[in-house]
Symmetry: D2
Subunit: 160 residues, 4 copies
């Protein structure tokens, strides 16, 4: 029963253009002395949603190799504070894929009252492990994302 | 469907004397430059299992008030290293309840191969929020734990 | 000798318009399995620089009371990856003060080779602790910042 | 002036048998909703003290290679809670060196009032990077530690 209970991500149509979301709970170690979630602790929530998204699209194993995505920019807009034990639903989508980079968008809401906690956009660049210079994103990755995101995906974005 | 997918803890009889476990996945932010989970990052996994344990026993709300449990000691024994995206099952039990303190025991295994990652014991003391001095653990808390843990619970441990 | 060794922040004129910087070292727990600093772990470095900046301006105690600054937005641009034990110099400045919000700018460089690791901008809003609604930033705070930042500070920015 | 300001560790004779300590400040991200330092966040403080200790003894570079120390056990005893911006002095010593393992002891005090926050003992094992099996600690490492710790070091401890 383990794997079933542990499936935290799933397709969804509740918040278009998002098509996927994952659940996570605010742990005690995520809070700070203001009694709310420390602003930097939302980033692992976004990571978790992205991992489940990639697992669903069969992209998790594709990434392992001589190349890896590295963070180029991260922008978070905080709307309301989450607190200990809040159940959050984190929506994730690929907004744009360029030649060597992609932009991921996030939206975290509190399940209990559907209140928006924060939104975010991450730009990642695929780099070679050695010289860490930008390399083209493979067609398999690009096609899997395009098939899932459909018309909402910007394919002609400028490469970073 | 949210609440169902997000239920991470459940009773279990696979690793007695443990009677409860929770699932968690190793996030990328939990790893360090050795390529394995940073030794301090298992502590939030233990917290997560304990929170689900307390939720199952109806103790989560009981805690909120003028008193709170604070960590008195934490001992972790590391057996094997977990890695990014490993699914872990964290077993948790109350081993002993004294007058003002309790000892919780943990056991984290990797689901894929049932290999033991680490074991831990935490001693917590109930303190008043103001002066932070030890106060007796209430009967309701004690009885809920005793009913769930049964004969495996040491009730006559020395108070800290 | 403690306080002297522990003074991590100081005024500087090496990277105008920044006028203050603080030093920090990359700890092992800041790294991830890519062998570099996890992208979210730069945020505590920015916090550290800001705390030393506020200490230098006599603003640290001023904050404690019925109001507190909360994060409204955080944008980080990653230029190069820091690694374990890198000594970083984090430049910090107040870029703009509006009626209830302010924008802080950061720039982290590696001391060994003066290479830029990342830049960031945080917008914070002063809120009341109860209802968490925006309240005006006090004149004492505003004047201390204006005296230190001089002509580089935008005072007429739109309130958030 | 950078390197000087950033030197956080130094020999000391204030708390024998400790002979070395390092300073660190409690960052905001180290606190939790109890208003105190999260119990797991002392571990990076211990790491920091250990890194400065190894730097002082010329052991930091010695470690890099085909072998690395991994955590075998970590025990922390919490005496009093540290809070945001507390300046801590973390004493560190090698208590014992066996054939393939060593025990490090820590003691964190608050500088302002010399109050003990916590003590800890870590046992580390030197392992080969590939198979991760225990390998003997080199003579150079052992001799540097023995020269610094003197008679307080247990050399004949049982190998883990």
């Amino acid at each position: 029963m383990g794997p079933v209970s542990a499936r935290l991500g799933q397709p969804t149509n509740r918040k278009p253009p998002f098509k996927f979301s994952a659940f996570t709970r605010v742990g005690f170690s995520d809070t700070d002395a203001q009694g709310i979630v420390y602003y930097g602790r939302y980033l692992p929530y976004f990571d978790l949603a992205r991992v489940e998204y990639e697992r669903h699209l069969g992209l998790l194993d594709l990434e392992i190799g001589e190349e890896e995505f590295v963070m180029r920019s991260s922008s978070v807009l905080y709307e309301a504070p989450a607190r200990f034990d809040d159940l959050l639903e984190v929506f994730v989508r690929t907004k744009r894929i360029g030649r060597t980079s992609m932009a991921n968008e996030y939206r975290a809401i509190r399940v209990a009252d559907d209140v928006l906690m924060c939104t975010a956009e991450h730009v990642l660049v695929l780099v070679s492990l050695g010289e860490r210079c930008a390399v083209p994103i493979g067609e398999a990755y690009r096609e899997s994302v395009a098939a899932f995101e459909g018309a909402d995906l910007e394919l002609s974005g400028p490469a970073t």
